[in-house]
């Protein structure tokens, strides 16, 4: 340790020297390797062991099950597409699938981190700020919420767009209004719609397959569901849909979709970890599911097309709902900050996600839009919650005055 510290100290740029501007970069690396020896000066002399790096690290650990499962699932659907066989046994060819998944997913992770951190470094040098840890999580989220086939250059552009316009212009980590990872996803969705929606992108390599057998569709379960609200339904009834994509498939995650969002179980492992360590807010997470369930049952009651008949439980396990609930909507910076505000925020976001899904066939998945919308509304929710606290205080003052 001493040797590494000595080496780092040797490389430290002089604050007044030629490389002074790069001090934040050195600082970023040094504080990554060593929690600095900075001590308290005033106020509380002892401090809690946690810092932002630990918090972010915990989220990354929670994301690992999703990443690992996503790698395997990417490999699986690639071989399904290549062989044109929807009934390919899920756990066959384990090694091949893992290797293909790694080849597809690792570059996404690397590009996301390299480009995102690069942008962060540029801004830190420009503003002479310390490098803050927000991107550690964002950089892992982005590869998990895109299809595995998305070209790397698109990811790079989306990351630059999101980090600059959603975060740095507002002042960096902790100051952003909307979730950075979702901004990147939204940018891809609206800028390159052909790469982010449709039937060809959810099974890696399907675009290169010359012909597929009749009845073979590369759509995600949600895509097939969305078609049921139109004139050309893939399935005649919800039962037919559930025969193809069972609840168990969603639980395990053996369905096509974005890299990390398919497996309910993997996401729940992450959720349990985040809740047990106390990093994520259970209030937001719980109310997001509650909101989704509530609106799901409501739609069941008024079902005018087969889609609306889908079991709400199944709804929550499809697409990015669970992933959004655990890793996206809980982002403390963009969520509501007050305790009761968190319930309202989560509930509305969950309800909105399902509403967009079922009532707007243009967007098979509504989670991204719902969370971005509620990110923008969160300060308003907080405002009203705080006003009620202020009113309580005013009332107390009035009763005293009488």
């Amino acid at each position: 340790m001493k040797a590494i510290e000595k080496m780092m100290r040797k490389m430290e740029p002089d604050h007044h020297g030629k490389w002074a501007k790069f001090h934040p970069v050195w600082d970023g690396f040094f504080t990554f390797l060593f929690t600095p020896g900075e001590t308290t000066n005033k106020g509380a002399h002892i401090r809690d062991g946690i810092d932002l790096k630990r918090t972010m690290f915990m989220v990354i650990v929670a994301l690992l099950p999703c990443l690992l499962f996503g790698i395997y699932n990417t490999g699986h659907w690639h071989y399904v597409a290549e062989k044109g066989d929807l009934n390919l046994p899920y756990w066959d060819m384990f090694g091949d699938k893992v290797i293909y998944g790694l080849i597809k997913v690792l570059p996404l992770v690397i590009v996301s981190y390299a480009v995102g951190l690069g942008v962060e470094f540029v801004f830190c040098i420009k503003n002479q700020h310390a490098i803050q840890e927000g991107y550690l999580v964002t950089g892992m989220l982005i590869p998990l919420i895109v299809p595995a086939d998305v070209p790397l250059w698109m990811v790079a552009i989306a990351v630059v767009f999101a980090v600059v316009l959603a975060k740095e212009v507002f002042g960096g980590t902790g100051m952003n209004v909307v979730n950075v990872a979702l901004t990147a996803r939204a940018f891809l969705f609206f800028s390159y719609p052909t790469m982010m929606s449709g039937d060809k992108i959810w099974m890696s390599g399907l675009q290169n397959v010359a012909s597929t057998p009749d009845g073979f569709s590369g759509a995600t379960p949600l895509g097939e569901l969305a078609s049921m609200a139109t004139n050309e339904p893939v399935h005649a009834s919800i039962d037919a849909f559930q025969a193809k994509w069972t609840l168990m498939d969603s639980m395990i995650g053996s369905i096509p979709g974005s890299v990390g969002e398919t497996s309910f179980i993997a996401i729940m492992i992450g959720a349990a970890f985040l809740l047990y360590t106390g990093i994520a807010s259970w209030k937001v997470m719980f109310s997001f599911f509650a909101g989704g369930l509530a609106i799901g049952y409501l739609l069941n009651g008024v079902a005018v097309n087969p889609y609306l008949e889908l079991d709400p439980i199944h709804h929550l396990m499809l697409g990015g709902f669970a992933f959004g609930a655990v890793f996206m909507v809980t982002d403390p910076v963009t969520a509501a900050q007050t305790s009761s505000g968190k319930y309202i925020y989560g509930f509305l976001a969950g309800a909105m996600a399902i509403v967009i899904r079922v009532l707007n066939p243009a967007f098979p998945e509504g989670v991204m839009m719902a969370i971005l919308l509620l990110n923008v509304l969160a300060p308003l929710i907080d405002h009203y919650v705080i006003q009620s606290n202020i009113k309580r205080r005013m009332k107390r003052l009035k009763t005293v005055a009488q």
């Binding site: 900075e38 002399h45 002892i46 106390g278």
Partner: protein, 453 residues
């Protein structure tokens, strides 16, 4: 009507080095210092000069803005030096004590037979007034104010805090005289709040002329701010006074003996103290002799006060005016490598309110926490953590932010009048972004004081 309160929010930080319940003497130190910086917002006006002889209770300086508030010498002796800082600001007054203590005589008086003004006069003349602090603002009380209540906490719940039940045992008469005197100063009540989890000493439980309340819960249950908030909260325009329990006894002695006997029992505690125990000590006394040989070698942080709100001092320094304990903990100025002791490590020696370190596996463990920030200053990112340790019906983060952008109107609405920096000590402890919250709140209170009061 006596009240019983239970708070669910809060945090007990378990530290090593709790003081053993033994009162010990310490060799007489003839070197005393009164630091004017112990009194927030005070501009002192000296009434003595170097070379003057003083007795215990002699006025040595006044508050320039409120000259009726006098500050007394805690001992008899000679003023040896007046230390000044930038712009000749008076920082401290050094007193060389004579071995034989001599007291100014303020006359033995029975507080129950005195009028409000007579009590006030006795306290102001004897230099005991600065023990009374006011909320809002958390400065020395204004003698012209009419407080709606006076609050005394019968226990201190902060980490390694001295046990008042032990200290005050046998001080019942002086404590009672002090409470009676205080009860004359308010049209409302004197609230004495006991710890609901333990049996209080008779000095507290038999107290009269006051309302005895009980509070259950973790720290900050013992903070007078928490008690005020749950018993009789401060609204805009109202004033509440607070006095520390040991200082009530000093006030009581002014009436019982006519003398300003500024003696306290302090706890010397902390993981770097060899035999932590209690010592009898006069305010402003030098700590040099006390700390010689009783603390571990190496880099240590010596704190006058507790680990959450105390002042950093040096080993040859003096105990602060308001402090009941001296705490010694390890200094943590060494960088910590990421996977052994840093942010990626298992963190068995790190205490945290959440379970992100494996130390949660040992819930009863006592820690030797050092002064490392355990991270770097950041913008606010994590929400909801401050609320876990802040038992007020106040939104802490929103209040802190309103202070940061100096919105006086919003500060007022969010409850700045009800809080003192010490109420935010735990918030500061748990803050992931390592923001000096107590300092922020102090600045907010100063702002409110200059603009609104």
């Amino acid at each position: 009507m006596s009240k019983t309160i239970t708070i669910r929010k809060g945090l007990d930080i378990k530290l090593l080095g709790e003081a053993e319940k033994v009162k010990s003497g310490v060799e007489f130190a003839d070197n005393f210092v009164i630091r004017t910086t112990d009194f927030h917002g005070l501009i002192p006006k000296l009434t003595v000069k170097a070379g003057d002889q003083v007795k215990a209770g002699s006025t040595i300086f006044l508050d320039k803005g409120r000259p009726e508030i006098r500050f007394a010498s805690p001992v008899a002796g000679e003023i040896t030096d007046i230390v000044r800082g930038e712009k000749r600001k008076i920082l401290q007054i050094n007193i060389k004590a004579t071995a034989e203590n001599a007291y100014e005589d303020f006359g033995v008086k029975d507080p129950s037979k005195l009028s409000k003004d007579e009590v006030k006069q006795q306290l102001l003349a004897s230099g005991a007034w600065p023990f009374i602090k006011m909320r809002p603002i958390d400065i020395i009380a204004n003698p012209a104010d009419e407080p709606k209540a006076i609050f005394v906490s019968a226990f201190d719940s902060s980490p390694l805090a001295p046990d008042y039940d032990f200290i005050m045992h046998g001080e019942g008469a002086a404590f009672q005289a002090g409470i009676t005197a205080l009860s004359k100063l308010t049209s409302g009540k004197v609230h004495l709040t006991l710890n609901g989890n333990t049996t209080a000493d008779v000095a507290f439980s038999n107290a009269k002329d006051c309302q005895i309340n009980k509070i259950n819960g973790k720290h900050p249950a013992g903070n007078v701010g928490t008690q005020i908030h749950h018993i009789d909260p401060i609204n805009k325009g109202q004033v509440v006074w607070t006095v520390n329990a040991q200082d009530v006894a000093i006030i009581g002695r002014v009436f019982l003996t006519g003398k300003f006997q500024a003696e306290r029992v302090i706890a010397l505690a902390g993981s770097e103290v060899k035999n932590p125990k209690y010592y009898k000590m006069t305010i402003g006394s030098s700590l040099k002799k006390l700390l010689t040989g009783t603390i571990n070698e190496g880099k240590v942080r010596i704190i006058s006060g507790n680990v959450l709100t105390g002042d950093k001092i040096t080993a040859d320094s003096h105990i602060g005016y308001y402090h009941n304990q001296v705490t010694v903990i390890p200094e943590g100025d060494e960088p910590k490598f990421l996977i052994t002791k840093g942010w990626m490590g298992p963190g068995l020696g790190k205490f945290s309110i959440n379970r992100s370190y494996f130390s949660w596996l040992m819930p009863g463990k006592k820690y030797a926490l050092d002064t490392n920030l355990n991270g770097e200053r950041r913008n606010f990112v994590v929400t909801g953590e401050l609320e876990k340790v802040f038992p007020f019906d106040i939104y802490p983060m929103q209040l802190i932010k309103s202070v940061m952008y100096k919105d006086l109107d919003l500060m007022e609405k969010l409850g700045i009048y009800e809080v003192a920096p010490e109420d935010f000590a735990l918030c500061e402890f748990v803050c992931t972004s390592k923001i000096d919250i107590q300092d922020v709140i102090r600045k907010g209170l100063d702002e409110v004081y200059t603009e609104c009061m």
